[in-house]
């Protein structure tokens, strides 16, 4: 099977989310990549070095600079004449573009796969991860989004793909990128971090969140996450949210502070290698999934922990 992986990037470098998708695609067959963007030649050169990659299709056009689905989808559809499957990371961009491609190909997309069980059989979570379905497709072409935490990351070196220019990109003119507010942070990205420190509603307000959670995260070189309750209460912006409707993470160590462990939150972090929970309620559901638990007042415990590390 010949597969095509849509590369997530910022026109400067390859985003980590791509690497797990390459691994998933390699379980289906030969892996080709599509780098669609504007002034993104460096991305294609970098992507060609990813282990196991064959051809890298480079579509460099001003209309592709902001990954607008209206412009990217037809380009991918044109490449599908020569490919049997196209895979995207289940990131906000991947989830935005993939179904548009699927419908244009008259294919039923398989969302958020956790494993490849055969050339046409996959597992995927349903009901916020409360059930895992094994599905078999009868479509001739496959359109798939991949849950990043479910597959190992392909090595960023060792590959010797060839970069080939693709033409035919054009601006549909029906949508326009206006602007973005992307939080600048010196901390690692949530979905790529080895250690995550997350805070919940028990922090009571935004000031506490920053003064309690962030020093610990900085000490550990960790990313900062939050429960939906903390985000809804306005302690931190929405992109901090870990959970079924937020980010799905699986770091080496996940430290949950003042998070009770609602099913919604657990769905987003339960694949972490080690879970540490700090909560004053010893019956909190978070302790049922935590490897290490400490019961007590976070306002005393966390500063003490930060100091002693």
């Amino acid at each position: 099977m010949k597969t095509l992986v849509w590369v997530e990037h910022d026109n400067a470098s390859v985003k980590d989310a791509t690497l797990a998708v390459v691994t998933a695609a390699s379980q289906l067959g030969e892996v080709h990549l599509i780098v669609a963007g504007s002034g993104c030649k460096a991305v294609a050169d970098e992507a060609a070095k990813i282990a196991g990659v064959g051809k890298v299709h480079l579509a460099d056009d001003a209309s592709l600079g902001h990954a607008l689905a209206e412009n990217v989808a037809p380009l991918i559809v044109s490449l599908m004449a020569d490919h049997d499957a196209v895979l995207f990371p289940a990131t906000s961009n991947g989830k935005n573009i993939a179904p548009r491609v699927a419908a244009l190909l008259d294919v039923m997309q398989i969302s958020d796969i956790l494993s490849v069980e055969g050339p046409d059989i996959f597992t995927r979570p349903i009901y916020a991860g409360n059930a895992i379905a094994t599905v078999q497709t009868s479509d001739k072409k496959l359109v798939i989004t991949v849950r990043g935490t479910a597959f190992a990351k392909a090595a960023t070196s060792g590959g010797s793909g060839t970069v080939e220019a693709v033409s035919g990109a054009s601006d549909t003119g029906i949508s326009k990128f206006v602007g973005a507010e992307i939080a600048e942070s010196t901390r690692p990205e949530l979905t790529a971090a080895k250690v995550i420190v997350s805070g919940g509603r028990a922090l009571q307000n935004s000031e506490n969140f920053h003064s309690i959670i962030e020093p610990l995260a900085d000490k550990l070189g960790a990313a900062v996450g939050a429960s939906r309750a903390a985000v809804d209460a306005g302690y931190v912006p929405n992109d901090y949210q870990v959970g079924q409707t937020g980010k799905i993470v699986a770091p080496e160590v996940y430290i949950a502070i003042g998070i009770s462990g609602a099913i919604q939150h657990l769905a987003g972090m339960k694949d972490s290698k080690t879970i540490i929970a700090i909560n004053k309620d010893e019956d909190a559901p978070i302790f049922q999934v935590a490897d290490i638990g400490l019961v007590g007042d976070l306002f005393k415990i966390v500063p003490e922990l930060t100091e002693k590390l």
Binding site: H66, L68, S92, A102, A131, G293
Partner: protein, 250 residues
Amino acid sequence: MKVLVPVKRVLDYNVKPRVKADGTGVDLANVKMSMNPFDEIAVEEAIRLKEKGAATEVVVVTIGVAKAETDVLLTARAMGADRAILIATDDEVEPLGVAKLLKAVCDEEQPGLVILGKQAIDDDSNQTGQMLAALLGWPQGTFASKLEVSGDRVVVTREVDGGLETVDLKAPAIVTTDLRLNEPRYATLPNIMKAKSKPVAKKTIADYGVDVSPRLKTLKTVEPAKRSAGIKVPDVDTLVAKLKEMGVAK
């Protein structure tokens, strides 16, 4: 501008899904069913557009069991939708099939805007809005946390990885809702009583001449692997020692 809002009847979000012992799916017998929460947000947004004078009519549509007429479609009308369309079927229709049916509805209704939930909380597919946009050749503003409509311009602020992004779409357009777009109003009892007189057009899939035969077959459904509870440590010093053991702290 007419606004079309497709809604789905799903297992109520407060009910914990139970996987059937024979692995054939999630048990939906005798459990509470409600409107998909993201779709409630979509209905609310459409009604607000009408209240602001940006929309002229709000039409809701569902594809599903006949009972939807007296629960989710009634709720939507009680919230403020003007009329409803029920495309009755007892079969599960996949997002691609739903998108094809909705395209046929759009061809008839000619809405200027379609607002959908970003995903249904049962199958978690997150596909229908984008697919409908593709089939119609319309622009899409997915995962919206803010929506502004003026004339034929639809400006959507989207929740994306790392923050927010704003796109400017040319109507007719598709918008899918994220959690923070609004807080839906409750359907009050007096409004529910009044809503009963708002019209519901009853249709079948055959009326639209669309092939919705499934492409995916679910071979089995299982519960996810369970994590077991670990140890509790008595104090911060023991936790620090554990973190050092794991190599997380020096």
